[in-house]
């Protein structure tokens, strides 16, 4: 590699990093907020958001589409995975406390009863339904949600209503009809 091509490579790498920084600064706060909706602990949400960008930086398939779509989709997925992991951990919480193992930061961070109920329902819904509800509650437009989840925009309203209905049924089923 001669000096010319080396400098070109350096320029290319610098450009990629500058692009990544732009993407990061543009999307990180909102990505962190989306994840924070799903998981309980804000600091954990920030860590997971950083993980999302790390995967974006090192993943080949991440760059085949617009960064926003990939990042939000990855954020919802990683958030739901974390939610599932936390709930699985909570199942064994009595055993862990009996063994003297310290509670996790998620457990230390208190959540209201309503938040716990909503997260429990999100955990058992279909992945797509949970993602729809989370992204919608974040205030994203139908067009954005359709792009992120790779869905047809015209059918998004129907899918969203079905997701809401599934949420309601599961919530009432778990916590009684008086909650509705």
């Amino acid at each position: 590699m001669d000096a010319g091509s080396e400098s070109l490579a350096n320029i290319s790498v610098e450009t990629a990093h500058r692009d990544f920084e732009e993407v990061f600064r543009a999307h990180y706060p909102r990505i962190a907020r989306v994840i924070a909706r799903i998981v309980q602990d804000p600091s954990r949400a920030e860590e997971l958001a950083a993980d999302v960008f790390w995967k974006y930086l090192h993943g080949r398939r991440a760059h085949d589409e617009s960064p926003g779509g990939w990042l939000y989709r990855a954020a919802v997925r990683i958030g739901l995975d974390e939610l599932r992991r936390v709930r699985r951990r909570e199942k064994y919480e009595p055993l862990l406390s009996w063994l003297g193992i310290a509670p996790s930061p998620e457990q230390l961070h208190a959540a209201t009863q309503d938040q716990k109920h909503v997260r429990a329902v999100l955990d058992v819904l279909k992945r797509r339904d949970s993602a729809l509800l989370v992204l919608r509650s974040e205030g994203l437009a139908y067009q954005e949600i359709a792009g992120i989840l790779r869905l047809n925009e015209t059918s998004l309203g129907t899918l969203l209503r079905r997701a809401q209905e599934a949420f309601r049924k599961e919530y009432v089923n778990r916590y009684g009809p008086q909650t509705f």
């Binding site: 920084e21 990061f24 600064r25 990180y28 706060p29 962190a32 907020r33 924070a36 909706r37 799903i38 804000p42 949400a45 920030e46 958001a49 950083a50 960008f53 790390w54 930086l57 090192h58 209201t112 309503d114 938040q115 109920h117 909503v118 997260r119 509800l133 989370v134 919608r136 509650s137 129907t158 209503r161 809401q164 209905e165 949420f167 309601r168 919530y171 509705f180």
Partner: protein, 261 residues
Amino acid sequence: MDHKPSNPDTNSWVDDRMANLDPAPDWNPDAARALERLTQRQPSVNAQWMRLGMTTTILAATVLVLVMLPWRRLWTPQASATPKVVTTFAAQMGTAPQRPSLKQLVETAPPQAPAAPTRSSGKVLQDSANGDAPDNGKEISQYPEEIAKAREIAESSPSGLVAPVTAQAAPADVTAPLLIHSVLPEYSPEAKQAKIQGTIELMITVKVDGTVQFENFRKTLGYGLDEKAREAVEQWLFTPGKKNGVPVATMTTVSMNFSLK
């Protein structure tokens, strides 16, 4: 599939529930700090490569263990006694000229009682010379020709006594001959040079006076080892087998294990 019209109550109710998840208003993720941490993060080893490495290691360890297992011992029940014989011989190598270790198996000729297994009547003796462990007794009833021959020998003996081999005789009637003096065979130079190892089996008759009459070979090795084994066994002395307290001629099988280490 029925498509129900949208229920505004449901929509608002779900929105209200989901609004519970709104992050605290005063919480603002610090992008600059997160970016700084991210740029300092070192790429970790790919989890897939780690899994692959662990799987390969486990497989290699399993293969190693399988290769090192003594399969021949596991598959050959008779081979279980071999190491002891080998060890015994190795101890003899330092003190004596090339002499093989000896493993004897002495069996009495039991009656051919089909309902009663003859193993109970066979007696395995320990070598008085080197203390080898006894081997499993072999069923002499499996060799009807040898039994017939034993009967002929016994009939031709001066005392006229013979070990009963009829089905009517109880196995407990005949006691096994006991080895009281043995001579170990030597390794022939040809067998030693050719590194021949293995077992020779000889059929012998223990006469009423306790001396041995060689009958035939049931298993040979060649290279002069058969002759050495025969020379040795013909010098052995037994306390003869007895029937109802009376000495009788009995046919036995002797196994000699020749091993070079």
